[in-house]
């Protein structure tokens, strides 16, 4: 049943896409299309949810599509049901947001048809049960999102972002193609069932793992494969950015889990070592890059890189524990990673929606030109603050729960018998703590610069809150952040079948534990209760405020800023975002980034203004891509001469090539 509903959703999305092409020029088109998205994704969400809780899984369906003789195999198991839930929840939120936000789209025909197509692609990836269907759906998803990145194609940087994106996406798909080719073996068993049953030799399994890490990791944004992500995600309209960051990276993670945990028989410890190391490095570097950004949406995109890193740490730990037959910690690490997948989709969608609201209201993406929006956009400010606190892993919100569970899994790490893992696990624990502290700094900077202080420009002064639909979507997501932070127990129980399918164990049943606490392994070891913490906080805060107001004084006087007696009325002397991060940039950034600071001080007596400029470059470009790019350019320059040969020489070349090939064939025999 869920499979049929899922398939119906994909078809309905495609119909909506075609419909959008037909009616795209109508004034009511956005409302119709986004309304359709809301309806379809609600259906998909509902069916995925019921499939997961009622265990109505593992139905199969063969479609008469695709290659002759094979057709397309579809299946929904616990893993795909969970990710279908994430995708359709993101689609639902983006649809509701889009009903309001999409009205302001300048060229709706460049956006409207592709969002349903994009959602159809992501849904289809999750249902695919053979390599061919998977790859077709994967490419469909990539291409649809590529078109959405190009929605505002007149901006030079968007064209560049889209170009880099398509190159990286193709390279990633190529890796996945090779991985599936290796898994299919010489007999070409492209169905996932066949791959699962075939026993791969360790060498093949290792190669498949590396290819999957590169292929899915490039889509998810693992450092150093992340370079396209902070360019492409912000280029799209904000609700599409939310889908790309909050949802598509999760589809990539699904691809990784599917191949590494499901199709490859036994993950080895060295594989988990690589995943944990990449995850930790990605988390810290991602958030450090995010700290240094000035563009709101690019900051959020880099923070996605960080969260992907946290998820990969969880996955790597699950692989490590599974490789050493420690099923219960493996289930904990896996559940932590999956819960973070869900939580990140909540708060990252929320934050991108909020950023979209700010950009729409003020026309500015540069946070140094905003400020004081908490007074102009009170609703957006509240929900954005909740999103910021959730992503900074602060209790009692949801980001903390999944990070806490990851830490609990890390604390079991020393019991691993493998030397390398024993040493890397505490290191990664410290890296994650560093990432959490940076994330808090990063989101204090973001919220403080954009929403607090005084408005730095007229655009910020005249901003206004957004429409009801956008606000409804944001409030709903904020409520989800709260709920899943305060009572995470049911979510953890919901993930039990997924964890069981992947690591053959589950976390302890949470629903029976008193007071709605969560217990990762055993109650004597650790437990956390968001509900009690929240009620304690509310009680003590409200109690204190009431007592003071009632028995001391509630007199308040408004006056000018004090600022130690020297307030500067100028708006530009406020602390800006880049001055906020200056200490962290000095301490941590100098070694890790290309930072070029130039100060121009005019000589005494000159009336010219002093200038300061700061440029931060992502070192991944220089180290990971620079050599390759240079080699290609050099080779292209050298080979360029071949373009200007005479006909005789061309004939000679053809003849020589023929001879060489014949010799090769002869030698091969």
């Amino acid at each position: 049943m869920p499979l049929r509903i899922g398939l119906a959703c994909v078809v309905a999305y495609l119909v909506a896409a075609v419909l959008a092409v037909v009616i795209g020029r109508w004034r009511a088109a956005p409302a119709v299309v986004y309304g359709a998205i809301v309806a379809i994704s609600a259906a998909g969400l509902g069916s995925a949810f019921f499939a997961l809780v009622s265990d109505d899984l593992n139905t199969r369906l063969a479609l008469p599509l695709g290659l002759p003789l094979t057709g397309g195999a579809l299946r929904i198991d616990a893993l795909s049901a969970f990710f279908l839930l994430v995708v359709n929840l993101g689609g639902l939120a983006a649809g509701v947001y889009g009903i309001g936000y999409g009205r302001h789209e300048r060229s709706p025909l460049r956006v409207l048809p592709y969002i349903p197509a994009y959602l159809a692609g992501m849904n289809f990836v999750l249902m695919a049960d053979d390599a061919f269907t998977f790859l077709v759906a994967w490419e469909f998803m990539s291409l649809a999102s590529w078109i959405l990145v190009l929605a505002d194609h007149r901006r030079e940087e968007n064209a560049r972002a889209a170009y880099i994106y398509i190159v990286m996406a193709s390279a990633g798909t190529l890796c996945l193609l090779l991985a599936f080719g290796l898994l299919a073996g010489p007999h070409g068993g492209y169905a996932f069932t066949a791959m699962r049953e075939a026993a791969q030799p360790p060498l093949i399994a290792g190669l498949v793992f590396l290819l999957a890490l590169v292929g899915a990791g490039s889509k998810a944004g693992l450092v150093p494969l992340h370079i396209w992500l902070p360019l492409a995600h912000p280029a799209a309209p904000s609700h599409v950015s939310a889908l790309m960051s909050g949802v598509m990276t999760k589809v990539a993670i699904y691809g990784f889990i599917r191949i590494v945990f499901d199709l490859v028989n036994e993950p080895a410890s060295w594989m988990s070592l690589i995943v944990i190391a990449f995850g930790g490095v990605t988390a810290v570097l991602g958030v450090l890059y995010a700290l240094l950004q000035q563009d709101i949406k690019r900051l959020l995109a880099y923070s996605t890189v960080e969260n992907v890193g946290i998820i990969f740490v969880g996955l790597g730990l699950a692989m490590a524990f599974r490789a050493h037959d420690m099923a219960v910690p493996a289930a904990l690490a896996m559940t932590a990673a999956l819960l973070h997948v869900l939580n990140h989709s909540f708060f990252k969608s929320l934050l991108f929606f909020g950023a979209g609201a700010v950009v729409h209201a003020s026309g500015e993406r540069d946070m140094e030109r905003l400020g004081g929006l908490i007074r102009r956009m009170p609703h957006t400010a509240i929900v954005f603050l909740i999103g910021c606190a959730a992503i900074s892993a602060l209790p009692p919100l949801n980001g903390f729960v999944s990070e806490w569970m990851t830490f609990q899994a890390i604390l079991v790490g020393p019991q691993l018998p493998h030397w390398g893992l024993k040493l890397i696990v505490p290191t990664v624990g410290a890296l994650l703590a560093l990432a959490a502290a940076f994330a808090a700094a990063c989101f204090v900077k973001l919220f403080g610069t954009v929403f607090l202080g005084r408005a730095r420009t007229a655009a910020a002064r005249n901003a206004h809150d957004v429409d009801r639909f956008s606000l409804a979507a944001m409030y709903a997501l904020a409520a989800l952040c709260f709920l899943s932070g305060v009572v995470p127990g049911p979510l953890i129980d919901m993930l039990a079948p997924v964890a069981h399918a992947l690591v053959r164990a589950r976390m302890p049943e949470q629903s029976g534990i008193a007071w709605l606490s969560i217990v990762p392994i055993a109650a004597s070891r650790s437990s956390y209760n968001g509900l009690i913490i929240l009620s304690f906080l509310i009680c003590s805060g409200v109690l204190t405020a009431t007592v003071i107001h009632r028995f001391a004084t509630r007199a308040t006087r408004r006056s000018a800023i004090w600022d130690c007696g020297y307030p500067d009325p100028s708006l530009v002397t406020q602390y800006s975002g880049s001055s906020f991060v200056m200490p962290i940039r000095r301490v941590f950034g100098a070694a890790l980034f290309d930072i070029r600071e130039t100060v121009e001080m005019p000589p005494p007596g000159s009336a010219k203004p002093a200038r300061f400029s700061l440029k931060v470059f992502d070192p991944a470009w220089r180290f990971a891509y620079g050599p390759g790019t240079r080699a290609i350019w050099t080779a292209a320059g050298k080979l360029n001469r071949l373009q200007f040969l005479t006909i005789r020489r061309y004939l000679m070349l053809v003849f020589a090539a023929l001879i060489v090939l014949l010799i090769v064939v002869a030698a091969w025999r």
């Binding site: 959490a436 304690f536 004090w562």
Partner: protein
């Protein structure tokens, strides 16, 4: 009936930390003043300060938002709840399992997050500089703190504070080099988190290197009272945490009779009083650091804690 008894014991702990916190601050100030050959304020001065501030009119900037007004209460609530969840005179109180060591550290981070935002609310240069430095210190201190948590929980096999304390009292812990090392690094972190010398100077205003005081510069009246109370609570919290992790002897563990509680209370109070005397002695011996020396100080804490973790691995054998 047993439930009510447990609730009373938990409530007593909440009131205890709140009641004792300003006094501890008063002791540190008095000792410091005596060491500097001043008479110093009376021991009860912090209570009087808070009382006075609470009854004063709060002056706020024209464009201060709701965040600015709400933050003092949130900060106070997070610090108070965190302090109340650390075992002081007894382990295994009614709600002690609702947050473990990691959650308590994260609760403090919530308060810091709110306060750093409030520092940026009215758009002053001082508020911004304070927030910015506070977040730098946090990003240096948190990894070190996590490694401390890591070591302690490896030794005790749990992150639950009550269970750690019981393990330290009853278990065969003995003298461990790694515990000594993390004690060292815990003290460094605690100094940084409480804005004490050499990281920050709680006694000054108008010093260019101030951090915490810069962040709360605009606050006055009842809001400032809340922030001062939260600062006092935080100091007590770190003292209790130190006592609970490293010197838990005397705490009531199995026996939940009033007598055991009284003995535990006496031990707890004398231990934190001792710490309140030791802290200013250490403070008067060093000078305030420049901001860009913080990484050396806290990096030292991190390195020590990392060394402790690896030592623990080696000593546990393979």
């Amino acid at each position: 009936m047993a439930m009510i008894y447990d609730l009373v014991a938990q409530g007593l702990q909440m009131i205890l930390v709140l009641a004792v916190a300003p006094f501890i601050l008063g002791v540190t100030r008095k000792v410091k003043a005596r060491l500097l050959r001043r008479i110093g304020p009376p021991l009860l001065q912090p209570y009087r300060d808070i009382w006075k501030l609470m009854h004063k009119e709060a002056v706020m900037a024209h464009d201060a938002s709701w965040l600015y007004r709400g933050t003092p209460y949130l900060l106070f609530a997070t610090t108070w709840v965190a302090a109340a969840l650390i075992p002081t005179y007894s382990t295994g109180l009614l709600f002690s399992w609702s947050a473990d060591l990691i959650a308590i550290v994260a609760l403090l981070a919530t308060g810091r997050f709110a306060l750093a935002l409030a520092g940026m609310d009215v758009g002053t240069a001082f508020g911004g500089i304070g927030s910015s430095r506070e977040m730098l210190i946090a990003s240096l201190a948190e990894p070190a703190m996590l490694l401390v948590v890591f070591t302690v929980s490896l030794v005790a096999g749990t992150t639950q504070l009550s269970a750690i304390a019981e393990h330290m009292i009853h278990g065969s812990v003995g003298l461990r080099v790694s515990l000594g090392l993390v004690l060292f690094s815990f003290i460094f972190v605690a100094i940084a988190e409480n804005a004490r010398i050499p990281i920050d100077n709680p006694a000054t205003h108008l010093e260019l290197t101030m951090v915490h005081e810069a962040m709360v510069l605009e606050y006055s009246g009842r809001h400032l009272a809340m922030i001062e109370a939260a600062a006092a609570l935080k100091l007590t919290l770190y003292f209790s945490l130190l006592v609970c992790l490293f010197l838990p002897f005397g705490m009531a563990t199995g026996d939940k009779s009033p007598l055991a509680f009284a003995i535990g209370l006496a031990f707890y109070l004398s231990k934190i009083m001792l710490l309140a005397v030791l802290l200013p002695i250490a403070e008067t011996a060093v000078a305030k650091m420049r901001v860009f020396r913080y990484p050396v100080f806290l990096g030292g804490a991190f390195a020590t804690a990392a060394l402790a973790v690896f030592l623990l691995f080696v000593s546990q054998g393979f």
